[in-house]
Amino acid sequence: MTNWFPLALGMDVPPGTAAPARLCGKEIALWRGADGQIHAWEDRCPHRGMRLSFGFVRNGNLACLYHGWQFGADATCRHIPAHPELRVPGTIHAHAYQAAERAGIIWVSLNEQASADELPNMDAFGARSILIRAPLASVRTALALPDEGWGWQEECLVAVHEPEPGLTMLHMAAATLARRLDVADRAKMTRDRLEALNEKVSA
């Protein structure tokens, strides 16, 4: 059983922005403050359940789009605009997961005890996150990837995750900046090949 899942390329969540991700249907908000630190939270505001990935990043906090509740990097609620004088109780907080950035990819673990030692330890540069309309298991088999869902192949990091059953996101990172275009082309060819194969199997 793997602890860490590759959910996005680091470059797809620039500083000061939030982005949605899903892992087997579980909705996760990825966001990054101006300090560059990446965060992964349950994509649900504890106030009214709004998706936090629709929110905006201000002064190192993620603010919910609905009523503007602001959550700090430690996931606790820092400010409620409708009650500006209120000292917000520490019990109000978003649900945070472990997040790490390695080899140009954002990795998230739902297990609090997961060790970052399991993650790739080489440098790489994100080239492409690409949707493949085929189930994760068949993509993993076709790409000869281990259970962890990632591996180094021909100077490139190949990683996969399942946003929802039947769909797979393939993330590819190149060993050098100069090779990113080649790797992105490979990602497209891989997608086209695997989707054609999947259609053949379904037919």
């Binding site: 982005a19 946003p163 275009l181």
Partner: protein, 186 residues
């Protein structure tokens, strides 16, 4: 000059958005036929149809900055973007009028989003910041309604990072305007 417009139509929105970004004062007349046939521009005693032709005409107005024209050697992608918007508009109207429960997201919606994502993603790696080149142009304006209103087809945007990036970048342009379903940038 006047636009025959339907506020909730994506193709009409592209024209209103373009006029706003270019700083053109464009009065509108609500006309239900625009929902079927798209926007129509009354200009110089005639009528111009099709969002790409209308936007290109707007770029030639004297008050519009030359930046809205393509740079030297830049590939024109307006026809591709207009065809993408036409396909999207058809899919969106079908989705909005469909009885419930629906049969899920049509495969053509995924095909369209993939086509746009591939182009935006390649452009980004080639350091081409806009679909039209170094400055946003008609092709970008035509693509924006597709990206921003793709939620109406229930296409999840977590699957398309380059499109998300395009939406964010586009909303930050001076003169950006919203429509129902397209909120402002914060």
């Amino acid at each position: 000059m006047r636009l025959r417009d339907w506020a909730l139509d994506d193709r009409c929105y592209a024209v209103r958005l373009g006029a706003s970004l270019m700083g053109v004062n464009l009065p509108t007349l609500t006309d239900a036929t625009a929902l079927k046939t798209g926007p129509a521009l009354e200009i110089d005693g005639g009528i111009l149809h099709g969002p790409a032709d209308i936007l290109q005409r707007l770029t030639s107005l004297p008050e519009v900055s030359r930046e809205w024209h393509l740079g030297i050697g830049e590939e024109r992608r307006d026809a591709w973007a207009e065809s993408a918007l036409e396909r999207f508009s058809h899919l969106r109207q079908t989705a909005l009028l469909a009885g419930l429960p629906t049969e899920g997201i049509p495969p053509q919606a995924f095909d369209l989003m993939t086509e746009i994502e591939d182009r935006l993603s390649d452009d980004r790696l080639r350091e081409r910041p806009w679909v039209s080149g170094s400055h946003p142009g008609v092709a970008d304006i035509l693509l924006f309604p597709i990206a921003a209103l793709s939620q109406d087809l229930e296409v999840p945007l977590d699957l398309y990072p380059a499109i998300r990036n395009f939406i964010r970048q586009f909303k930050a342009l001076p003169g950006f305007m919203t429509m129902p379903g397209v909120p402002e940038c914060h």
